[in-house]
Each structure stands twice: as structure tokens, then as C-alpha cells.
Symmetry: C2
Subunit: 493 residues, 2 copies
């Protein structure tokens, strides 16, 4: 492991390679035998579980309940919503048969040609269609509304270019699907869930995000409006980290979901959907980690504190064990997850490198001399600073330090984003800034045509129109036509 | 809802119809647009979440970690283990294409014939193959063992005859897959996880189970030994509720997973796998529920206590609200989930019937007169008994009552099983007993041939050879050949 760490490419050398190596070396994920599908290994799955738990609690506080809808969707469901099918048909996994048989020529098993489905099924790329086909039977009157349902599920989109966590064929996510009696209520819900995502990202992931609305071109297929939280990675590229969609009455019309409103009239139901996925793991890694490996926010770290003993012989180890035991118990009692690694088959240096690679926020090191002196060595993973602290009361100090680290990595990421966000007013500056990386705040004439031309020439897309942006008269960076506010351009993952 | 309840078929009339109606009327699940795939509705999903949380904690206490493996499996993986492919090839969902296109004739979307996969993929019916193909890269030495991994996932088996929760094409489950250095250790792990399932079923589901081993004929495809927990439903039929398999070196050999043992020799790795699924919801319903609806064990009930106010006008309601508020807060503080239903648009009788249907363990009813008298009406769902209790200290009484209900429904189910378990020694008695329902303890000559003939003639299968059964000399119920212990025969779901 120490050897592996030494081999980790530096971010300054090749950011993309650093990322791929880190994911593999820190035992986070690996490619599977099926192209584009990854294996999520236990350490990172434990982080995902913590993220799920926090998000799930936040959803439930807004009145959302969980449910589960089928994995497979009849093909014709997709065609019901015109934009939706355009967006998803090209990347579907299609189930056509329901049985295998022994190869008559003795070569293992083959698809049984007799077992062809009459109507092909697709693996859900997202579940609006099957859910709205179900809601049809659940909603009759305004008394049945709002309907606030979420599911934790796997989805599948046959991506051509995949990347660990960031873009995989199968991924894990949650998808919320709500139904409302009025347009206003649905719009408010879409914004409410966007704010939940923003709060979650900032509070738990220590990930500063810009909340904004997508342009028509970047909208979810079938949405009236798509809201997004956009984060900036260390290399200045944007990562779309979560989206919340106001779907208008599009899916209600596609699946004929009507309700009797308070005025006793039939009307189509209003909808939202919103989701975040295991892609967030990519955001987490690329926001905080460094050339020594992962840096994890204490709020999501599977192991928050590791304690490593230093000893010359088994007697000394026994002495350290005795001092560490009450510390471990006290930390656990404070709700802090701690690992005491007194395994005798690895040297301390190996352990140090391994826990740095894994991003454990706080490391305590204790030896015979420390015990004599009543001290303990503390290292914080975010800054790699070491200090010698009093052994007495170390638990309180650790708790405090975890809070400091959580805050510090957020502040650092925010500062980085601010330093890498530029207001640009000329096309030459724009091109140079985009090339150098970062968010560029510029004027845009509001047309898809201009947006696409800018993308062609610079590979930059409009990440969002910030919700907290101010109105400002200006001229489009590309066409010079009038514009009333700046939007964020960036290259993105 | 009151009307719907009245319409619920009685168990004595038609048990199977009662079950199907209850699942639908209590809003637990429904058939989806895809044959054999169900929608798991929020109320039952909340029960499933509680079950997951408890099981997951129990797994983790035994050192198991969670991870996630791909949904799709290359077809040829299945062929690697001869028994495994026999068991699963006939019910596979096969993915053959990766894209849809617009129908040239304008009829929606069709499968793009150009987008045919070179090697077909199947939706996992279980994950031994893809996991052992992954473990190959994770295991080199005895130091990498044991490897104790679980995943919570959806799986798919194209069942011809499906039944809500009990047998569905897609279902949710957990599957544990462990790797060990020795046969003994793997066998012990299989038994350990069987015991976890047994403890979970009895402690949380209040479901008495018989632990046993399956006959060769009923073994998991690819296992050396399959252990099971078998429960008896109210109609005397058996329900296999969880299985744990000792896989020997079968999958290690199929995927060439070798390790260097302590003696520095190469050997194949030993394996187990074990799983429980949303089928447990069926067991829960069919063990405790009655003609009024669901009866839920307090340990798993999403709402443990419901409070319904009785009032003549809004002033009285305000008075009741004021008394109920501190009760609700105190119960919540004790970790009890409570709902105060003071909705004014439904009559108390409607609410009563609805919460009975939903199986809420304890109902409190409070009116103006109760407040004057310092009393409150308490109803327990398991026995439907009502009593009037002192309002002061009602929270402690409720807590106690929840414990009593949990215990009572377990005892009741156990008593039912004991009364419906028979030791039988003649073929005539055997046939009559099987026809009447229940577990039949009988001698069997140990051959698959006899087992299959008995099944043909009586529709009874050997549910298991009980682990705690005593040796006893006897004669096979069917052939008269010698036998050394009794096995459990029953009809089953």
C-alpha cells in the first residue's frame, strides 16, 4: 500500500489519471465484466450508505415516503412523452427474451428463440413513465394530492464513454416523483427539493454548490424547467451534482392522469421529479482529495478516527492497548466511529499511508513515551498537520477537530471556486478563461443556437442561470445581442 | 375504507382470496404493467425499511460489509457452474439490444436491429457468478480471507405463476457472499447466518421458524448444502422464509478462485451465500393477520400507536388536542412512533376500521368525557380487546402493551404451529394429514425418487430435515425402508 501510494500520479501531472488511480488504489470501485458497469466496493459503499441515510431523513422531513416501482418498463411507455423518448431511447438496455436453453451444438447456453417477448421491455433509465402509469390509479381527487414518493433504485443508461462514478451504465440513485393539484405547488416543491440537495451537499459533503436553472438545451427530457446544483472540481471543471425538475402536466397528459379539483372540475395533475446518484462520490473525491489520497468530510467518513500504536515489544503494545481502550469507548459513546489498528503484521508507516489514502479525517498515534509524558500525537488529514496534545481530554479535542475539518474543507473548496469564477465580457477573454478552467460568468443572448456555437468552439456549456444572480444589462459574449443577466459557462464532467 | 373492510373475504371462506384482497385493500402492493412485477406501496415499504435496518445491523455485527455488484451478467457466466445454469437459465430476462429507434413506419419506437449485443446479458437472478468472477481479483492469500460481503439488490426470475410478495418476477432482497480458507469455517458461517435469520424472524417478525437442512432435491442450484428457516402460515402451509447455502468450492472452481494457504499451497476458496427477500412480507401477513386486516408486530409497525379524538365541536377538539400533545411528545421521546389523527374530514368509525386494516398495534381514543374522568380508551390490535385506563402514566402502559403484543403474537403463532404439527407413521394418515394442512413429521428413506413420488401423490414436499431433530429408527412412510430420523413434510407456498 505504501508502495501503491508512492505510485499515485500527482494532480498537477494529470488530473484525470490521478482520479482513476485513486479510485482503484483506495479500493473504492472497479470495472466489472460488463462494459460500463462498476463494482462499488465496501469502503465507498459505506460512504454511500451514510449519504443515503442523511438524504433519506431530509426527504422524510419534507413529507416524502419511499416506495418501489418495477425495474422493467414496457417499450411503448417511453413513446408516450415525445421529448422523453428522444432523450432516452438511444441508450436503452432492451430485454427481448425470457429464457435461455442448452445450445444444441453443446456450446453452453443460448437464447431460446421460442421465448421472445411480444412487447420488448427496457431497463428503467429513469422511472417517470412507469410511475405516472401507476399514479393514474392512485389519484382521483385533490384529496389524494400531493403525492410525495421517492425510490432508491438502480437505473441503466447505455453510455458510450463511461468513467468511474461520474458516468456509468448502471448507477444507484434516488428518484423522487411528486404529484400536485396546482402548478405553483409543484414549482415550489421542485425548488424545495433543490434546496434539500444544496443543504445536503454543503452540510454533509462540504461541497459548495451554485443553485440555478438549466437552459432549454440542457433540460431533462420531458421537463418544463430543470433546476440544478453545480459544483466546481479542483481542475476547474463543473460537475452537475443533482437535479430537480418541474414537469408541468407533461407526464399527466402522456398517461392521462386527471383529478377532480376543489372547484369540482377535471384537470391534469402537476408533477416534479428529482434525483441524485452515486455520481456524488465522484464529486466528493474531486473536491477534497489530494496527492496522498482521499480527503473525506468527517460527516461521511466510515472511519472518523484511527488510532495507531507505536511499540517495540508485546509488553509495550499491551500497555498502549490498556490506555487506548477507554479512549475508544469514550469516542464511541460520543457517536464517533473509531478504529484501533493494533494489527501486528503491518508497520506503522504502512498503516499511516493506508489511512491517508483512505481519507480518515483524524489519526492518533500513541507510544510508550507518550504514555509517560501524558501526550498523544494528532494528525488531521485535511492539512496533514501533526501536533502533540494532552492525553487527558483528547476525546473532546478530537470531536472539536472533526468539526474544524468539516468546516475547513468546505471553506477551502468555496475559496477555490470563488478564485476560479470570473466575470468576462469579451470573446477573447472568454476563450482564454474557458481554456484555463473555472466558471465564467458571461452574458448570453438566450438562444440555443448561440449556446451550441459556443459549445462547438470552446467545449463550454451553460451550467446554469444562477438563481441568486442579479439582473444586469449587457451584451452576449458571442453575438453581442442584448442580455439581462449573466449565466455560468464551464467545461464539465 | 369502512366499506372496503366489510368486503374483505374471511379467512375461513377462502384463505388465498383473503390474502390477495388484504394486500390490495390495505394499500400494500399492486400488480404493475409488467407481468409478475409489483409496485411496493409506501406503507409496506416502510415495514421493509425497518426489516432492512434490523437485518443490516445484525449482519454488520458478524463482520459483514455491504457492497454493490452489477445488475447485468454476461450469459456465459451462468454456464460456468453446471447445476447453477440448470437452475436459473429457464427463467432469465435476456438483454439483447442496447438502443431503440423511431419506427420507420411512424409507430412509436422499435428495437434498433443494428444495436445487437455480441454477447447477451441476463438480469441477475442471483449474483454468485458475477461476484465470484470479481472475487478472483480480490483474493490471493489466506490473509485476504474471510471476505464477508452483502448486497441489497433487486433480482429477476421469470416466474410463470406469480403471487404478490410470495413469488414475483422482480423482487428485492439481500444476498450475502462469503469466501473462506477452510470448509469448516464456511460451513460454520452458513449456520451462523441461518441463526441470524432465525433470530431476526422470531425477535422482530414474531415468526416462529424451524431451522433445518434441505434435501438434495430442494437444494439451491450450485450448493453443497442448503439450510432453511421454514415457517407455518395460518392455513397450515409452509413458507420457506430464508436460506443459507454452503457452496463448497463449486463457484471457486467455476471461476478459478485460488488462494495461497498458510501452508503456502494453492487451494480453491470455500464459499457461502445467504438471502432473504420481500417474500418475508408475505410471511408476516399470513402469520398474524385476521379478518379485520393486518396485524403487525410492534417491532416492525410503521405506526405503533394511533390516537383518535372524539368530539362534538371544534372547541372540544381543541381541548382534546391540548391533552394529546404532551402524550405524543412523551411517546416519541420513548422512541415510539405515534400518529395523532385529528383530521376532521373522516368519522371516528372510518378511522378505526382503517387503522385496524393497517394493523396499527395500539389505538388510543380520547373524548371530552375521558378528560373529565382522567381516563383513556385503549385497544390492542392483536386481540381487539378494549379497556379503559388511567390517563396519567398512559405512556408507560402503552410501552408495556407493545411488548405484550409482540410476545403474544409470537406465542400464538408458535402454539398454532405446534397444534398443526403431527407425527405420522402410516401412509393413510399421512395423506389425510397433508390434505388437512400442517407440518407432518414422518420417516423417509432418503431417496429423491421417494420424495418425488410423495410429491406427485400428495403435493407435499420435504420442507427440511430439522437441525434439532432427534435420531429415531423408523420405516419410510412411503416405501417402508429403514430411516434414522423424521423429516418435515408439508404443502408449501
Amino acid at each position: 500500500m505504501a508502495q501503491e501510494l508512492k505510485d499515485l500520479t500527482k494532480r498537477s501531472q494529470n488530473y484525470s489519471q490521478w482520479y482513476n488511480e485513486l479510485v482503484v488504489k483506495a479500493d473504492l470501485a472497479e470495472q466489472s465484466a460488463v462494459r460500463g458497469c462498476i463494482v462499488i466496493k465496501p469502503y465507498v459503499y459505506a460512504i454511500w450508505e451514510k449519504m443515503q441515510r442523511k438524504l433519506d431523513d431530509m426527504f422524510k422531513q419534507t413529507g416524502v415516503q419511499n416506495a418501489y416501482f418495477p425495474l422493467l418498463i414496457p417499450k411503448w411507455f417511453l413513446s408516450r412523452e415525445a421529448d422523453h423518448v428522444e432523450g432516452f431511447a438511444k441508450e436503452c438496455a432492451v430485454v427481448t427474451h425470457y429464457r435461455l436453453m442448452n445450445d444444441p451444438n453443446g456450446n453452453g447456453v443460448v437464447v431460446d428463440p421460442e421465448a421472445r417477448l411480444e412487447e420488448e421491455l427496457i431497463i428503467r433509465p429513469t422511472s417517470e413513465t412507469i410511475i405516472w402509469n401507476t399514479y393514474k390509479n392512485w389519484i382521483n381527487s385533490y384529496r389524494d394530492l400531493p403525492l410525495l414518493v421517492n425510490q432508491w433504485a438502480n437505473v441503466f443508461r447505455w453510455e458510450m464513454r463511461t468513467r468511474l462514478f461520474l458516468r456509468t451504465a448502471e448507477f444507484l440513485w434516488q428518484e423522487g416523483h411528486t404529484a400536485h393539484a396546482t402548478s405553483e405547488e409543484a414549482q415550489a416543491k421542485a425548488i424545495e427539493m433543490l434546496n434539500v440537495y444544496g443543504d445536503f451537499a454543503e452540510k454533509y459533503m462540504a461541497l459548495p454548490v451554485v443553485k440555478g436553472v438549466k437552459t432549454a438545451n440542457e433540460r431533462f427530457a420531458g421537463a418544463v424547467e430543470t433546476y440544478t446544483i453545480e459544483a466546481m472540481m479542483q481542475d476547474g471543471k463543473a460537475l452537475q451534482s443533482g437535479t430537480s425538475h418541474f414537469l408541468g402536466q407533461n407526464f399527466a397528459k402522456a398517461f392521462d392522469v386527471k383529478f377532480v379539483n376543489k372547484e369540482n372540475q377535471l384537470d391534469y395533475v402537476w408533477a416534479t421529479s428529482w434525483g441524485v446518484s452515486t455520481r456524488l462520490m465522484g464529486a466528493l473525491i474531486m473536491t477534497h482529495s489530494d496527492d496522498n489520497g482521499l480527503v473525506l468530510p468527517p460527516e461521511l467518513a466510515p472511519i472518523q478516527v484511527v488510532i495507531v500504536p507505536i511499540y517495540k515489544n508485546m509488553e509495550q503494545l499491551a500497555e498502549v492497548d490498556k490506555v487506548v481502550e477507554p479512549i475508544v469507548n469514550k469516542l464511541r459513546g460520543m457517536g464517533i466511529s473509531v478504529k484501533y489498528d493494533n494489527a501486528d503484521n503491518k508497520r506503522p508507516g504502512f498503516k499511516f499511508a493506508d489511512y491517508e489514502l483512505k481519507g480518515v479525517p483524524v489519526r492518533l498515534v500513541l507510544g510508550a513515551r507518550d504514555i509517560q509524558n501524558g501526550t498523544i500525537e494528532v494528525m488531521r488529514r485535511d492539512t496533514l498537520e501533526k501536533s502533540v496534545e494532552q492525553l487527558a481530554g483528547i476525546e473532546e479535542r478530537v470531536k472539536e477537530l472533526l468539526g474544524e475539518i468539516q468546516k475547513n474543507i468546505f471553506t477551502k473548496a468555496l475559496k477555490h471556486r470563488e478564485e476560479m469564477t470570473f466575470r468576462v465580457d469579451t470573446w477573447e477573454d472568454f476563450k482564454a478563461r474557458i481554456e484555463a478552467g473555472g466558471f465564467v460568468l458571461a452574458h448570453w443572448d438566450g438562444t440555443t443556437e448561440t449556446e451550441e456555437k459556443i459549445k462547438e468552439e470552446t467545449k463550454a456549456t451553460i451550467r446554469c442561470i444562477p438563481l441568486d444572480g442579479e439582473e444586469e444589462e449587457g451584451a452576449c459574449i458571442y453575438t453581442g445581442k442584448p442580455s439581462h443577466r449573466r449565466v455560468i459557462f464551464a467545461r464539465n464532467y
